[in-house]
Symmetry: C2
Subunit: 342 residues, 2 copies
């Protein structure tokens, strides 16, 4: 394939009958430009295969035009989809991104932060590792004057822009649905309580059960790393317990897959004997037999909004207000919890 | 969780009864250290949660101790698993990695290369975008004196270290198995021929059919980007053709999933009426109904060997020979092609 001549801002302006300055402002989400024009300019940019000129961007004073993204792990559809959407928005606005993964380890996350600060990125967009409770390294990002935006896993005390879903409400959607399917003994395979999103899911689980007049015994809330093997181990433990649950709400899809494997190996009918619900809408949840009900976290929206939060902050350095954007979760009902369907 | 005191090389040495210098050499894969000792040291390093001291490493003359990894897309188990394994080896040896994705686009790949060169990484480990035919930017990496290792998708004319599997042989494994299942009209949903690995798979497909005395009409080799929608579109096209195939060999699992969806929507029995085989062993291939036969590309081995190739080169700058490491592919037979099983 030939290396085509790159389109410029002038080409976009010519196609749309705008001035190059208006196109540039639209690409940078300038408040003076209407939403309609912004959409038209960004669509034309994609059509014309416009590539921002990074080299000249890099010459702007003191900016690298690089944004570092730290995710717990690459091997997750949720995180890779967020990254994809961050990248779409930032590339159109003249920023390149580089990714690192913490592998859920605090020590590795600290190293990744040091690396990104050394490279002098203009900002860091991150979702915290499961292990992280000490916020010192995130404080360091702020103290160096590097922009910081958190998504999904982020702690309020850092007082930075945040994008995520309403985890408390997610649990209400899950429990209300399971109750409507006549489930009465609902266990929760949870994430670690020291992480805000998992704590919120646990709190929602308890409150929703209470609202429905159902018990939530403490030994039915089992915290873990939510890996496949955690789901397997804890599901086996629940099957071996004197009073089996008739439904299990798992705070992550991969652990839910592990739980499903154990249920099927034990010839337990899902959802008739035990209903199952996961979290995140990983693509495999629609492929299993039975397919797994789950909660959609809107990874596309989260990525787009996190990138826009960064842009707004870097373009208005004097902005004082902190944005906490909380999206509505969506319950996706599939075979594993729908007793009417089967 | 507390930030534990970091283990040092001295701690590892004490546990194993070695000198700190021997431990350091073992961690850096020094040729004077036996394989047995290297394994023991690396296991102890993991046990003791040893974290290399990046700061002092960075002070070594003219080195950033950063390695850039360019992959076509993050959202693939194959690529994310390769990255994970590159990272394991490099972290143990005092290097940090940063990732970028090309999204299969030539222009984006060029930008990513420029970014990594600007950051002054010590090396780049890459798998090329589908669009890339012009090797100018890869030549630029070499001309800047930055180490370059390619995996999976790499062109021989660049004359750099390469790790991949035997794609030609993979097709032989696939076709021989389909022939043993009594398939006689085998179509191939292929990748683009200008990429060496896909060209090799096509060549293997043709030669294996010829060896078995079967026809390989040119219109049964259909090239595409191998996305889900490509698999769907081409499968429909094959179903609408006057002589339907009785087996389809797809050069990528995601496209194979699209093909399977279309087959099931058309109530075609898989594998009885049409057998199906994909490529890469993405985890979802074992979850579909029927499960999809596929080719294991050994992502763990590829990542490990690519990282080791980089280390060998950076530790022996005068080394002249180029390593091309070609691994044996492995056919994984599942329900979608096994007519005896069902």
């Amino acid at each position: 394939m030939e290396n085509k001549k790159k389109s410029t801002i002038k080409d976009i302006a010519a196609v749309l009958g705008l001035t190059p300055s208006a196109v540039s402002k639209a690409l940078n989400d300038h408040p003076r430009i209407s939403e309609k024009t912004k959409v038209a300019v960004k669509e034309a940019a994609i059509q014309l295969d416009y590539q921002p000129n990074y080299l000249s961007s890099a010459l702007r004073k003191g900016k690298s035009n690089l944004v570092g993204v730290i995710i717990p792990r690459v091997n997750s559809h949720f995180f890779s989809s967020v990254v994809e959407n961050i990248e779409k928005v930032l590339n159109l606005n003249g920023y390149n991104i580089i990714m690192t993964q913490s592998n859920e380890l605090y020590a590795k996350e600290c190293q990744e932060i040091d690396t990104l600060l050394k490279i002098q990125v203009d900002g860091i967009i991150a979702s915290m590792a499961n292990e992280t409770t000490d916020l010192e390294y995130y404080q360091k990002i702020k103290s160096k004057g590097t922009q910081l935006v958190l998504f999904d896993r982020g702690e309020e005390e850092l007082n930075v822009d945040y994008v995520g879903i309403d985890d408390y409400k997610s649990s209400h959607l899950v429990i209300d649905h399971l109750v409507s399917q006549n489930c009465k003994r609902i266990a929760h395979i949870a994430g670690f309580k020291h992480i805000r999103i998992y704590k919120e899911r646990i709190r929602g689980y308890k409150d929703a059960l209470e609202k429905s007049g159902l018990a939530a015994p403490e030994n039915w809330i089992i915290e873990s790393n939510l890996r496949l093997e955690d789901g397997r181990r804890i599901m086996q433990q629940l099957l071996d317990s004197p009073e089996r649950p008739d439904a299990v709400y798992v705070a992550g899809d991969i652990a839910a897959l592990g739980a499903l494997q154990v249920l099927l190996e034990n010839n337990i009918k899902v959802p008739e004997e035990i209903a199952l619900i996961g979290f995140s809408d990983e693509p495999f949840t629609s492929l299993t037999q039975p397919s797994i009900s789950t909660v959609n976290q809107h990874s596309d929206q989260i990525g787009k909004l996190a990138a826009e939060a960064f842009l707004e902050r870097i373009n208005n350095p004097k902005k004082k207000t902190i944005n906490r954007i909380i999206l509505e979760p969506e319950l996706i009902i599939r075979q594993s919890s729908n007793r009417n369907l089967k």
